[in-house]
Subunit: 189 residues, 2 copies
């Protein structure tokens, strides 16, 4: 039972590493097996197909990122502090997990993308969306569509994290703070 978990996890981790480095096309199942230290055939014991493996990986990565951000989410604080905390955690997560960021970005612009899967995983972020919705209702932030708010949070953070990973920028804690200040100015009412 523990073996199952370990080997399955090893396969997912190997896939994440290789896909983030070489893309979907550049990542053969045989290479995933080699990286994970298992035989080629065993992958099909745990996953139906390459599509299924990638679906699972996407759900897993999204789940983990949501859990990390929600871990320090404290609904009792003032809304403005909640939003800033969410942003900080998203930035922190993206900067610490470049492989995940690159993979998620690749997934969402690839043929592996399935709206059904996206609909599922977006539910992980329900509390965050609810937080912004509350702020909107209380007229603390501008009356902009959720997707615009999401772009200014998730997409900006992941774009910057990718640039950091590529060495195009050096995102210090202080700079991240200033970016969050700027984003707050953007959405505050």
């Amino acid at each position: 039972m523990n073996q199952i978990k370990d080997k399955r996890t090893a396969i997912l981790e190997a896939a994440l590493k290789l896909i983030s480095e070489n893309g979907f096309h550049g990542t053969a199942m045989s290479k995933v097996a080699k990286e994970a230290g298992v035989s080629a055939g065993i992958i099909y014991h745990y996953f139906d197909s390459k599509d299924d493996l990638i679906d699972d990986l996407y759900r897993t990565v999204k789940r983990k990122s949501a859990d990390t951000v929600l871990e320090s989410y404290d609904q009792s604080r003032p809304l403005r502090a909640q939003i800033r905390q969410i942003w900080e955690d998203i930035f922190k997560y993206c900067l610490r997990h470049p492989q995940e960021v690159i993979f998620m970005e690749q997934y969402s612009t690839s043929p592996y993308y399935r709206a059904e899967v996206e609909a599922d995983v977006s539910q992980y972020f329900t509390p965050i969306i609810a937080c912004f919705e509350r702020a909107r209702q209380e007229m603390i932030i501008k009356d902009l569509p959720q997707s615009v708010i999401a772009t200014l949070t998730l997409n900006v953070a992941s774009s910057l994290a990718q640039k950091q990973a590529a060495g195009l920028i050096n995102l210090t804690d202080e700079l991240v703070e200033r970016i969050i200040d700027a984003l707050w100015e953007a959405i505050r009412e």
Copy 2:
């Protein structure tokens, strides 16, 4: 001579359409040929390889997008108006050319990405970068790194355009104006 241009262009256009719809992996050279109405072999008369074709397509698309934005760029206007005009044009371009946006996004997170190519094409946008740099020096906008400013312009616009193309949002002219207002609040000093 004219034939050469036409067939080459047809191949590039076919590649753009198919790659934006099916990704790099899902786009076989034979399919590009079929879509372009030419034989499979002729592609190698105009391009060295699939890599070379994709490089060329990326440069072409970037060039076109830069030209479109720079067309209505008027250096004599006040800096704030210049920046708003640039944003408007970028949004307009992204919303009108979803295939190009999706392709560019895919390219930059794919194994086809080459820093050397990116360095080349980024020069097309020199006047735009200079505009923001001037605004920064005159302390009209915040003292943030170029890459952060770029993220808040190009990346936000292209992310939103992708969501629009996917039907997740309806970006009316009025909404785009409000987003630009918000972005301006983010970067203004």
